[in-house]
Symmetry: C2
Subunit: 493 residues, 2 copies
Amino acid sequence: MAKELKELTKRSENYSQWYNDLVLKADLAEQSAVRGCMVIKPYGYAIWEKMQRQLDDMFKETGHVNAYFPLLIPKSFLSREAEHVEGFAKECAVVTHHRLKNSPDGKGVIVDPEARLEEELIIRPTSETIIWNTYKNWINSYRDLPILCNQWANVMRWEMRTRLFLRTAEFLWQEGHTAHATKEEAEEEALRMLNVYGEFAEKYMAVPVVKGIKSANERFAGALETYTIEALMQDGKALQSGTSHFLGQNFAKAFDVQFLNKENKQEYVWATSWGVSTRLMGALIMTHSDDNGLVLPPTLAPFQVVIVPIYRNDEQLSQINEKIAGIVAGLKALGISVKYDNADNKRPGFKFAEYELKGVPVRLVMGGRDLENNTIEVMRRDTLEKETVSCDGIEKYVQQLLADIQQNIYQKALDFRESHTVSVDTYDEFKEKIEEGGFILAHWDGTPETEEKIKEETKATIRCIPLEGDRTPGRCMVTGKPSEGRVVFARAY
Amino acid sequence: MAKELKELTKRSENYSQWYNDLVLKADLAEQSAVRGCMVIKPYGYAIWEKMQRQLDDMFKETGHVNAYFPLLIPKSFLSREAEHVEGFAKECAVVTHHRLKNSPDGKGVIVDPEARLEEELIIRPTSETIIWNTYKNWINSYRDLPILCNQWANVMRWEMRTRLFLRTAEFLWQEGHTAHATKEEAEEEALRMLNVYGEFAEKYMAVPVVKGIKSANERFAGALETYTIEALMQDGKALQSGTSHFLGQNFAKAFDVQFLNKENKQEYVWATSWGVSTRLMGALIMTHSDDNGLVLPPTLAPFQVVIVPIYRNDEQLSQINEKIAGIVAGLKALGISVKYDNADNKRPGFKFAEYELKGVPVRLVMGGRDLENNTIEVMRRDTLEKETVSCDGIEKYVQQLLADIQQNIYQKALDFRESHTVSVDTYDEFKEKIEEGGFILAHWDGTPETEEKIKEETKATIRCIPLEGDRTPGRCMVTGKPSEGRVVFARAY
């Protein structure tokens, strides 16, 4: 779509505006006519598809299968698990009728009052309830276990303040729901999927994450334990990027799902659930991008290489076309996705700006002199560095460059996080440091009261109790009471 | 999941019951707690995933990209296109509230009356309205065209009588929505996608289809022309399997989507939409399956080959395991998906019945004598024929057999259709033949009145005006008025 490529707001001027500008100008997503629901545009969706494909492969490698459960959930199901309903009731879209009819005034349609549902249905905010109601019929004995299902679906949580990708009323996600014969197996599963998420974030998104356990306050509604991966954005705020829950027997009890164990006794089934959503798009955008636009990791870029010709006349263009055809074929043979843009209705400078904005990892440019010299100009999007290299072996050169970019943007994000992670020992110091953003490692006495006080006074929350790193005990920075080890604080999205 | 493998109802006894039995017993899908909404179980979903992957590749090869549009549509949008609202208003799920609250009596939750939406939202029955409202902002000039978007999504049509896969309130589908600068280009696109559907049905599903145009009565609500692929089921009923619509400028006018054409004049945009759904699962099941269960085309089977060992003792099993490992590796190297089922908690006979029921195209069995003789028993699911062949070259043998099965089930379905397609010239003969099922080619005067009369008197509908075959004019079998050519009648799902 032709459009003016206006300047992005700079990150240093207004980070939040920079993000909104970028999402719109890079054609990733936009608001729809329906409050809080976004349209994911083709370029944004292509990135999401790449994420889906990779995650789906990883789920299948770890033994999971996909299935599909209903969009709508009977209202009464939600009430079965006390904490669950408490967590979700306030943000439910409710279906009350199943028919419209012509308005008596002849203007449009109205809800047909005679088509009222006996029981209201809610659009799933998450599917534990409908799925455990289904699993009840699938499980009789330990031989039916484990069940390792995932579904790719849309869900709806009626948020009051929404932001594209980060917090929307409707979002796309996957939700895994597993059923196990033992507590140990379910706990293992919850941790396994946390590690899958961690690997996906670091290896494919190039986003370093801290893996840890949520405090009780931040736990999923209905979980006994919530594991999380937490990423740090360039503005120093944390973004929760994926969670995996050990649900104990809560949902099995709520929906009476028992099985005959090996000792021939009835027992409640153990459960996990885990999910990542289109929120990951927000993490991806904010971790790597700069004032020129998106920076995408080569593994998730819709196309990894763009080639632009610069030519004086049709004859020269056709020579360049011929030369480039060989390079395109060579790149494709190496599994590299490439777009050759020789459209004549846009100037090269316009194309350069557009592909920078869209974060294409590598740009190749061939002009008349390159043609003579058998060279090509290579630009890498992450550092914007340019060099002119020989066309001989260009394919292998680009392949290595893509790997370098993937590694470099990960390392850059990791360096950023490390330089924005500090340990503090006093609450005064904490209050000072939290204003600078970043992760703060501090001792906490483990009580919800202290956590709440810190949140009220500083807007910082406990992102997680980290699973790795220094676990030396100490004293809570607020109360002086014993602490089992430092936890990660930050202000968060 | 362990369960008793009870006999299926025979097709000849009760075809409809056979279908329901099969969907349930082969673990494809089941009813959920929500009226008319199904749970698609992992085995059924694995088939749907294979369909999706193939269709998605075909859409991308024809230049389409994926995107995602909101689940909810403002009620008023529906009224913008007069025929469209007429077609869908009666089956809309309506969201009226966005919050639940605790019931005053302490029992569960109720809809919070204070959280009533200003304008009701409907769950998309199809997305023309929300998408054309979005396209309005994407289109200014002919340079912005064409737009070739597809989305994979769930939709909801509140059907009163539902059947698994064939007619459900919620179903999964893809919907393509394209925008063009000229009428010709939009018409071409609608036909292109009809042909993609036809190729997919015949080449991958092994389901022969008649391609044609819908009569005005059967057109999509808001379309100028609806193209369809029509398949014939084993009970002689037709199943509409996919439709592609030329929408003219109807939605562009309803949502005021104009563009500046090459002559610098404002013009309304031309549109198409096209979709196939989980209904295709019904077509797949009913076309090929038999009284022993599913018969799946190798191209869409979740696994193409199952191998079962028969052994006297652990030592023999370990010898067979070793031998089979080589065969499994060889099959996988040819891109053939294979499952080796040496689980010791089920008898071979039980496994045989289960894999027959699930339609696995090829079964290999190795027993002690086979091990001695370097042979293996091969059974093909489509004909249930068994033979014992040498293990040398078994991989290539199976590869060829899979291709044969794909071809054979297509040919069988085509033979069935051809032997159940008749031309009739009088209405009396029509009334007689329609009782036998199948496609009837007959002359029709082209009026909705005659079509309606035939439908009322015989329950037969015009499936399509075929695009191929004999188009000799004649006289309507009912009115004697001129007919442009025979059309396809049948009773239909």
